[in-house]
Symmetry: D2
Subunit: 292 residues, 4 copies
Amino acid sequence: MQLGLIGLGKMGGNMRERIRRAGHEVVGFDRNPEVSDVASLKELVDTLDAPRTVWVMVPAGDPTRETVKELSGLLAEGDLVIDGGNSKFTDDQANAELLQDKGIGYVDCGVSGGIWGLDNGYGLMCGGDEQYVERAMPIFDALRPEGPREEGFVHAGKVGAGHYAKMVHNGIEYGLMQAYAEGWELLEAKDIVDDVHGCFKAWTRGTVVRSWLLDLMVKALEETPHLEGVSQYSTDSGEGRWTLEEGINLAVPMPVLAAALFSRFTSRQENSPQMQAVAALRGQFGGHEVMK
Amino acid sequence: MQLGLIGLGKMGGNMRERIRRAGHEVVGFDRNPEVSDVASLKELVDTLDAPRTVWVMVPAGDPTRETVKELSGLLAEGDLVIDGGNSKFTDDQANAELLQDKGIGYVDCGVSGGIWGLDNGYGLMCGGDEQYVERAMPIFDALRPEGPREEGFVHAGKVGAGHYAKMVHNGIEYGLMQAYAEGWELLEAKDIVDDVHGCFKAWTRGTVVRSWLLDLMVKALEETPHLEGVSQYSTDSGEGRWTLEEGINLAVPMPVLAAALFSRFTSRQENSPQMQAVAALRGQFGGHEVMK
Amino acid sequence: MQLGLIGLGKMGGNMRERIRRAGHEVVGFDRNPEVSDVASLKELVDTLDAPRTVWVMVPAGDPTRETVKELSGLLAEGDLVIDGGNSKFTDDQANAELLQDKGIGYVDCGVSGGIWGLDNGYGLMCGGDEQYVERAMPIFDALRPEGPREEGFVHAGKVGAGHYAKMVHNGIEYGLMQAYAEGWELLEAKDIVDDVHGCFKAWTRGTVVRSWLLDLMVKALEETPHLEGVSQYSTDSGEGRWTLEEGINLAVPMPVLAAALFSRFTSRQENSPQMQAVAALRGQFGGHEVMK
Amino acid sequence: MQLGLIGLGKMGGNMRERIRRAGHEVVGFDRNPEVSDVASLKELVDTLDAPRTVWVMVPAGDPTRETVKELSGLLAEGDLVIDGGNSKFTDDQANAELLQDKGIGYVDCGVSGGIWGLDNGYGLMCGGDEQYVERAMPIFDALRPEGPREEGFVHAGKVGAGHYAKMVHNGIEYGLMQAYAEGWELLEAKDIVDDVHGCFKAWTRGTVVRSWLLDLMVKALEETPHLEGVSQYSTDSGEGRWTLEEGINLAVPMPVLAAALFSRFTSRQENSPQMQAVAALRGQFGGHEVMK
């Protein structure tokens, strides 16, 4: 089928390639003319045959909201917009309503896979009406990994459910990474253990903790056996924060996610104010020396 | 090669089978005569040709310590004992010294794989002297999964390092399980999400969180889509506790493991004393009603 | 001075009494005619001399927002509204702007003290313009505890800062309560300790952990030495959640608050879904028996 | 009464002074001859009238164990040894048995109060037989704060219970400090809040969070309003670790204590290995830039 694809960055560019490999026609637009197939959003819309399907793959937040708004003025009744970016699920309902007023359909789609997706396929989580999800299925099938559809794709629920599932996926990811990281530090700290890299590698088959993230950890250790020179500075992309906020809203305890998120916050502080306070308190009550 | 195997329970029985499939001779002993190949530990030792290799696969703690002690009286110089049980790494040094006095070698070996190991192979982590690890390598090769040796086996370090690596492996496992569990609860709690089972299944290919534990979670949800009727009661086998103790000893922060372990403790309490205390305090200062 | 006081419940009623004891005139309004001094909000406004000062002490959220809105229609330029309820700080800016359009001032005031405030005085935290805070100072002085003003009152900052400081105060309170509660459970669990109540009582003087909350805990234990029959069910009033959300927004790690809040969430679950998931996973990989 | 006091450091020296102020005779021994009343442990024992009471106030661990051992050779049947140091409760049973063989009594006594104890009195928690606790009561009464005995002293239980109660006291203290510290950081981070020091000071009367630690925090902020130049480096004295170990042993969830302890561990790391691992993993799967 034919797809309009807006945003041809690291993710979008690879996705265009994978969809084309599957035999579909992709008209891509990006603000960067070097990678763009057309000169403007309007040209993209004019190029596509009605009813059009347009996939938005631009940064979450204002860029996505503005793109959807602009599309609502360019597209026609019967067209379909898919937001495949990392939007917060709370944006989806607003987007869907804006488009619905013009008779344009909306599907939100969380996409997992990072730089590996071009070859491995992308994990896809969708939200929206059945009819719209069905219409875009050839594209979903092109993007998802080989194998049974349900092992790389889900229609998770109503509008917003796709981004919600992707958000939770990322929240889980925080916890998984932190679990491996804690274990790695402990092994590195123990005198009787000589080959921590070897332990992680040995876990890649036959053990309970084997996973794709473990494979990546082994790969990282192959490059830098003791992570020499790697900074602790760890950013967070927002989805971990949103997941924790949802835990708060729905009264779901999320101690592992919270621990992982807070560890990232701390990793970015040169001098933790709260630990300054602890040190100052210790100095007050115990006559403990406070380092300045 | 020839192996004496002590303990033919759920794990040991399957291991005997897998080693035999690989073409080795296994003489097994178990207190249960129905599964045992010989009538006594002495008969086991007498049956084996020197230098003997004896694998101990009995419950950790007293049973293992007593078996090793008994073996130290039965085996001869040049023999080798491997403890493949879930012993605490602190037992290994004592076992090794006891046997060393008689010229008997010792290797500790953490084994991962559970009931799936018979067919998939077992992940193996060893500690001890190179010469002893080398001698038992045919058995390790028989037990570990197909593929490159280093992807299912590691000689992690000195005596104790094998059980230590296995302990940390299990500690990581606690965190991974809790991470998936938190995400599952959050998805189940969200109104716009209709197909949580489908989400987990869709994550099994192409996503960042794919893993063997995720596959098992999908399997569990296939049996009981919303875990209807499953009790929250979660035991802990000891290795999570030991890992946390080691974090304390070595000043390694382990917030994710601690959270996972504490959640299990709480899952077994009918009425949490500490939350009774919180409720009582709230009743005192706020005139909040305390439920009795 | 003269004050209009809206909301004469558990808190408001006591506050009217304390302000009157200090020699001020209070005209109180409550929907419950049995405790109200006037029949309507309009009558309250008509009764007061301009420029009026009106203290709103009704439940946070819609009731407060609606009361402020109604007041904006009844009050005149130069009047002053103080919101002393447990409003979220994000409401304050909106309230202030609504009133400012009519030339009416606004101060937010967090109030701590619970049922003990009538006799002990209330801890007060204010936000807003200096001129408005100054105008209401006689009322603040009446409400706060005896002693130096700065030991029971603070002008914390701009509009919203009062409720913000009160919110953080409550967030801290969650952590303090949980810390005592954990210690209490541990002492109760230890065989060599016979007199846990005695330990808490002995801590009330001369120790590092002495506090008002500790005194309350001792009081609770005097009533019920082992908290026999007290339910673990612990509600949360919202301010702990807001504080954690702010930690997320400002990238401030708050592991203690998060732990305390999650413990309350868990205390209200009969069967924790996430621990059902952990139990189900254990059943899958280890052949561990799952309790149903 | 007459007391032998071993160890005249920061704590012991002040305690000698306080006991003397109460009218008792104290013979003090310290390795530092400048502060010691006698030249040796033997001279101390010879100077005291039988039955003797000797208070040991030296560093926990080997120094205390060796002092008790030496005393067991110098003292006579009917004498009494009190360990007032920060010993781990597991040392007490061994000490008691060693002395019991010679007919010498033993009491363990946790002491709280730090440098403030000389004037405020010390909080005391004892373990041991009633007869021995009774015999030393005049000393306990001299050391504890003014007021009812039970508000500064407890006979908590059997041998070890005093140090256990003190250990839990310190574990609680970790949580309390961290709770205030988190709140302080959050207030400092918020733009609308201008006077964080003022907030803490305003909380010292009439609020739910008032405590001695809060008073100390106010004092620290009076010296350094924003803790400028204070290092985050926070040591831990061991008792927090022991308390967490006991939580693990007795299956008591202690998320707040664990969080506080881990924060101290992290505060002492220049580059957190586990966060290096998280950063390295992020670099692998997302093409995220890793800072080196």
